[in-house]
């Protein structure tokens, strides 16, 4: 490979990468413009100064703090709940090697593939019957289970290769199955569980259909749902749209920077064992 070809390739890749990031930059630039500036200079000019009233107005109008609290609460509970459920399932399948585990595992895989459209109406109906409709708890319960389907699958294959000697040794020392799980299996599998926690959190944060159906009151909505509904109503002007977009992008950007390593490593683990 000659240097002559190397640089054009690098340049082309950088250009492509730039294209991926440009929408974020344009949004950030326009979110700090005042409405008059926007209508005079259009979307492509650089902002004259930092105009933060648009962001502040939007924040107060949609009660964004509440939406953030809801999203963090729901995603956090789901991540922990789904991880616990996955560990219990995977312990029985991967280490306990219970009878019929192939079928049990196949069941979890299929449950994971199931489109939410096939669950959404009964879930909506049943939660109304149970008095859980329009509560954050209902969304937490549903996603804990849905995410655990993927977690069970991934952890089962990881625990299937868990060194048996360690478990045998602990058993001989008189540890119960419960103790083996919490004192040995969980600490040793911490990296995989960490990946799962991050994924569950972000996936739940990004979920749209079920929260849209289940959370109708303003006080319970997540960031995704609140922004999606606002956009769907077509009531936002350009400045407000940009404020909405920037405030929606920021949390995702923070997760991305914090969890970048876990994310990219995790996808590889998930895709090919």
């Amino acid at each position: 490979m000659t240097a002559l070809r190397r640089y054009p390739v690098l340049a082309a890749l950088c250009l492509a990468a730039l294209f991926m990031v440009v929408p974020f930059v344009v949004v950030a630039l326009n979110a700090v413009k005042s409405p008059t500036e926007y209508s005079q200079n259009g979307p492509l000019s650089l902002p004259d100064g930092l105009y933060l009233d648009g962001l502040k107005d939007f924040w107060e109008r949609v009660d964004y703090s509440q939406k953030l609290v809801n999203s963090v609460l729901i995603s956090g509970c789901v991540a922990v709940g789904a991880a616990v459920l996955s560990v219990l399932n995977a312990y029985a399948i991967g280490i306990g090697r219970i009878k019929g585990r192939t079928w049990v595992l196949a069941f979890f895989v299929l449950a994971n593939m199931l489109p939410q459209e096939a669950l959404v109406y009964p879930v909506y109906y049943l939660s109304k019957q149970a008095g859980l409709y329009d509560t954050r708890l209902s969304v937490i319960i549903v996603f804990t289970v849905i995410q655990a389907a993927f977690g069970t699958y991934l952890l089962s294959s990881v625990l299937g290769r868990f060194p048996r000697e360690i478990i045998e040794a602990a058993r001989i020392d008189g540890a119960s199955r419960w103790q083996v799980l919490w004192r040995i299996v969980v600490p040793v599998s911490r990296p995989t569980i960490g990946v799962l926690l991050v994924f569950f959190f972000i996936w739940t944060w990004n979920e749209f259909l079920l929260p849209l159906v289940m959370l109708i009151s303003n006080d319970n909505q997540t960031v995704s749902v609140a922004l999606g509904v606002l956009q769907g109503q077509r009531l936002m002007d350009a400045t407000m749209t940009n404020a909405a977009a920037l405030l929606g992008v920021l949390p995702a950007l923070v997760f991305f920077l914090v969890f970048q390593r876990t994310l990219t490593r995790g996808i590889a683990v998930g895709a090919v064992k």
């Binding site: 082309a12 730039l18 306990g96 449950a111 199931l114 459209e117 389907a149 699958y153 749209f208 995702a252």
Partner: protein, 321 residues
């Protein structure tokens, strides 16, 4: 991602130690009880209810009346239904075929050219740029793009005007002939990072000697890509294609935020169609039939993908041993 069950289960079966005494082994099943109950309540029962309702006529209140296959018969004659599945095929192109193809080339270029000559830090930064849209909530991506593609003072139209291509300005999401392609473009942007990251991980396990040998034989970059890279990461390719196709069939949020299935049904997809039938038209039985058809297609696709991947991995292992 969900694709290696058969294999791992088989591997477990092969390496099994002599059977331990019955009782202690079965007591592991107790750990499955909470999971089993939760799945019963949240997945199995609702799924069966949905399938059951698809054979009835129900508006969501009162009790459903049995109507047999009437809903499915109606679907066959429903042009809206066929259109929504036709659009699904376009989504498969935008979310599976194109990102996989682009992802392969980009991953190989990043790995070969950039990784070997400019260091892993440059690779990491570039990869992060491509992956960024993947962590964005789809609702937020929709807001960003519907503003960029807006007809009046949207950035794309403003950009076209600024570079003297004013006559190319369009109502990207409002023109029935264009809207589907605009949504497809957005989905390529959203989806590209996933195949890229998976392929880059896959490339790391390809034996570098293969490339060196090919290079000595005088094979150029494209030939090496075609004859070494592609066959070597075939299992990953199947995983990505299956996974992305399923995601494409399920696509909902982007359509809801960008176009609401419009203009005039030009971007309607099955999941949005069933959502609208459930909650806007409140024809619950009919909506259930749509989602049942979607489920059957997705499950069939998953099984095919699983088969292909297992075969590819077995073939690869056969070569190695």
């Amino acid at each position: 991602m969900t694709v290696t069950v058969e294999r791992s289960a088989r591997a477990v079966g092969r390496g099994e130690a002599p059977r331990p005494p019955r009782r202690p082994r079965d007591s592991y099943a107790l750990f499955l009880v909470p999971g089993a109950l939760a799945f019963l309540a949240v997945v199995v029962v609702p799924f069966l209810m949905n399938t059951g309702v698809s054979f009835t006529d129900w508006q969501g209140v009162g009790s459903p009346t049995w109507s047999g296959l009437a809903n499915y018969r109606e679907l066959l004659d429903d042009t809206e239904f066929w259109a929504s599945f036709r659009h699904s095929l376009f989504m498969v192109v935008a979310m599976a075929v194109l990102p996989t193809g682009l992802g392969l080339v980009l991953a190989a270029a990043l790995f070969d050219y950039v990784g070997k000559h400019f260091g892993s830090r440059v690779v990491a930064v570039l990869r992060a740029c491509f992956y960024l849209p993947q962590v964005l909530p789809i609702a937020v991506a929709g807001i960003v793009w519907s503003w960029i593609l807006a007809p009046d003072n949207g950035s794309l139209n403003a950009l076209l005007k600024a570079v003297g291509l004013g006559s190319w300005q369009r109502d990207w999401l409002g023109d029935p002939d264009l809207a589907l392609y605009s949504v497809m473009g957005v989905m390529v942007w959203v989806q590209l990072g996933f195949p890229l990251v998976v392929f880059m991980a896959g490339l790391q396990r390809v034996d570098p000697e293969l490339y060196e040998a090919a290079e000595l034989d005088g094979a150029g970059w494209w030939r090496r890509f075609w004859h070494i890279t592609l066959p070597q990461i075939r299992p990953e390719t199947y995983v990505v294609l299956t996974w992305c196709s399923i995601a494409a069939l399920k696509v909902f949020g982007a359509v809801y935020v960008l176009t609401k299935g419009g203009p005039g049904g030009a971007t309607d997809v099955p999941s949005y169609f069933s959502f609208a039938t459930f909650f806007e038209k409140t024809q619950v039985g009919y909506g259930a039939a749509i989602s049942t058809v979607l489920t059957v297609i997705i499950l069939a696709l998953s099984l095919v993908g699983l088969k292909l991947q297992t075969r590819a991995e077995d073939a690869e292992e056969g070569v190695r041993t």
